[in-house]
């Protein structure tokens, strides 16, 4: 059977996928921006607009409370756009990967490269979001990025983007028709965005629901980013980071194996 060495992706070859995506986006660079505006509008509309009417949450202004959640959503948007929609079409409609697999590239290299690209895109959104929050400053914006922990916000956001990317690619390997996206977005991504600790603390939820929320990646992403961006770090962050690393790795391995079965048969 296939040995481990044959399954492991090559960094050099995986970079060819990143390069390919850069060439594609040279033609359609405008679309890169779309995923960035959604969380920004939420921050301005809900954080600053609605936030004026809402009391502080756990010692944070409402804007500061939801901003880390929106940062996580930025990472997720980039990951989902490239990790789900684009990969699905390349896999099932354009047959792009069949062409690439006729070269020395292997499924592992393609999966790893596509994931890296999704991470790059998610990280770009995260970086832009952090810059905006920082520029807004504590006068007009939420008081954030003031403690030394803030230095770790961006690396943490990259980790969040990586976990979401791996999960997005993994979920995509289970999709069989375009309509399946509606189910994933409507019943997976949206509830995760709304209830994952983004807009209110999860202890507001009934116990049974809270238990479900604490299993999804969004919750752990928010619980990692909120302490770092608002300077309220305690030991519990280690558990959330571990969750992101482990689920991301597991999702990547599953995605790679499933793509292998789909593409090489």
């Amino acid at each position: 059977m296939t040995s481990l060495a044959l399954m492991l992706p090559s960094l050099r070859r995986s970079h060819h996928m990143v390069e390919r995506n850069l060439v594609v986006y040279r033609h359609v660079w405008m679309v890169i921006f779309s995923g960035f505006f959604e969380p920004l509008f939420y921050l301005l509309g809900i954080g600053l607009g609605l936030g004026g009417l809402v009391p502080d949450v756990g010692g944070l202004s409402y804007g500061a409370f939801i901003a880390p959640g929106l940062l996580a959503a930025s990472c997720m948007n980039g990951a989902i756009t490239d990790g789900m929609f684009n990969i699905y079409f390349k896999l099932h409609h354009q047959k792009t990967y069949d062409g690439i697999l006729a070269t020395p590239m292997r499924v592992a290299d393609i999966t790893f490269g596509e994931m890296q690209w999704a991470v790059v895109r998610g990280s770009l959104y995260a970086a832009a979001f952090l810059v905006i929050v920082w520029l807004l400053g504590e006068v007009v914006g939420p008081p954030m990025l003031l403690s030394p922990w803030a230095v770790l916000s961006f690396p943490a956001a990259v980790l969040v983007a990586a976990t979401f990317s791996a999960m997005a690619v993994c979920v995509t390997t289970f999709l069989r028709k375009v309509q399946d996206f509606d189910i994933v977005i409507g019943l997976g991504v949206m509830p995760m965005f709304l209830f994952g600790g983004t807009f209110f603390p999860v202890d507001q939820l009934p116990d049974a629901v809270r238990w479900v929320v604490q299993v999804v990646p969004m919750y752990h992403a928010v619980e990692t980013l909120r302490p770092l961006t608002t300077g309220t770090v305690d030991g519990s962050i280690a558990g959330h980071v571990a969750y992101l690393v482990l689920t991301g790795t597991a999702a990547f391995v599953v995605a790679m194996r499933r793509l292998e079965r789909t593409l090489v048969k």
Binding site: R12, V23, Q94, D98, G99, L101, A102, P104
Partner: protein, 311 residues
């Protein structure tokens, strides 16, 4: 590693099963350097499955397969580095331009950028797409896309070029343009491996071919050998009214080496078609039309399998 004097591709009892169905059912063949080798057979004969195993795109179920001296099970990347693949269904990268398709494909082979740029220019000229190099892929015609796919398959200067149904779905003019490019490759000494269900394509392009049916190889040889071995030189095709045909009662007996009844015609395998036609007329058989032609690989296939290549 280096192919010195042995075959470039060697298959022994090569088998591909999907669940219980054997798509390729124990085939043996050798492909030698510099030859154009064909797999001729109808859809579902196992040609594409064989091709995909050689291209390392499909795992071998059983049997032996060696490609350029290497084992697809363990050395897929090294084999793929030296193959050029033209798949049945175009899978060009439609999100980038014609030129970028070749440049990017060269990257997957780790070809240096300056070499890639030079080959891209030459290959686009070779497939007559130099003027479309900055075009998107989508608006290209089917024939142009296939030519671009051929150029893409040549970017790594492959030892063997695999072409799966290279002209299926193309109009006659586009087919001839593809054949013309493939002739040129042959003249340069390229090794071509192609599948087709068009007997004219096989006759024109292949030095040697195997005829496949239901996952098995039923005959092997050069087009001329196969025709000489399994057919007469000429074929007399007779079209008759249904009632005439029903009432023949042996009126065609003894005229031909073999008589093949097809839904729309009767084929008589003979050495001299015109003479046989005179004999048929002399026996007073009323004909709608008659045609004398040279025997083709289609006749070989019909003889060996009892059915036609294209329904």
């Amino acid at each position: 590693m280096e192919p010195t004097d042995g075959p470039l591709i060697r298959a022994r009892n090569l088998t591909k099963r999907f669940d219980a169905v054997a798509a390729v059912d124990g085939v043996d063949f050798d492909v030698w350097p510099g030859e154009a080798f064909g797999f001729l057979g109808p859809n579902g004969a196992g040609k594409t499955s064989t091709m995909r195993m050689i291209a390392c795109a499909s795992p071998v179920t059983a049997g032996e397969l060696t490609v350029i001296g290497m084992d697809p099970r363990t050395e897929a990347s090294a084999i793929k580095a030296r193959l050029g693949v033209v798949p049945q269904q175009d899978n060009l990268d439609v999100e980038i331009t014609v030129e970028e398709n070749l440049l990017m494909y060269a990257r997957y082979f780790d070809i240096p950028r300056n070499v890639a740029a030079r080959r891209t220019k030459e290959l686009l000229e070779f497939v007559q797409l130099g003027e479309r190099r900055r075009s998107e892929v989508e608006p290209l015609s089917g024939g142009m896309k296939r030519r671009l796919t051929i150029a893409r398959a040549l970017i790594n200067e492959p030892d063997v070029i695999l072409l799966d149904e290279p002209t299926t779905g193309l109009d006659p003019q586009a087919r001839h343009a593809i054949w013309d490019r493939l002739y040129r490759l042959k003249r340069r000494g390229a090794t071509l491996l192609l599948t087709t269900h068009y007997m004219d394509e096989a006759e024109q392009l292949c030095d040697r071919l195997v005829i496949m049916d239901k996952g098995r190889i039923v005959a092997e040889g050069s087009p001329r050998d196969l025709i000489a071995r399994y057919s007469t030189r000429e074929v007399l095709e007779l079209r008759l009214h249904d009632d005439v045909r029903a009432g023949l009662h042996g009126q065609l007996d003894g005229l031909a080496e073999r008589v093949q009844e097809l839904p729309d015609r009767v084929q008589l395998y003979v050495a001299d078609g015109e003479r046989t036609l005179e004999q048929v007329r002399a026996r007073g058989v009323p004909l709608v039309s008659a045609l004398v032609r040279r025997a083709t690989l289609e006749d070989v296939f019909l003889r060996l399998t009892g059915h036609t290549l294209v329904d």
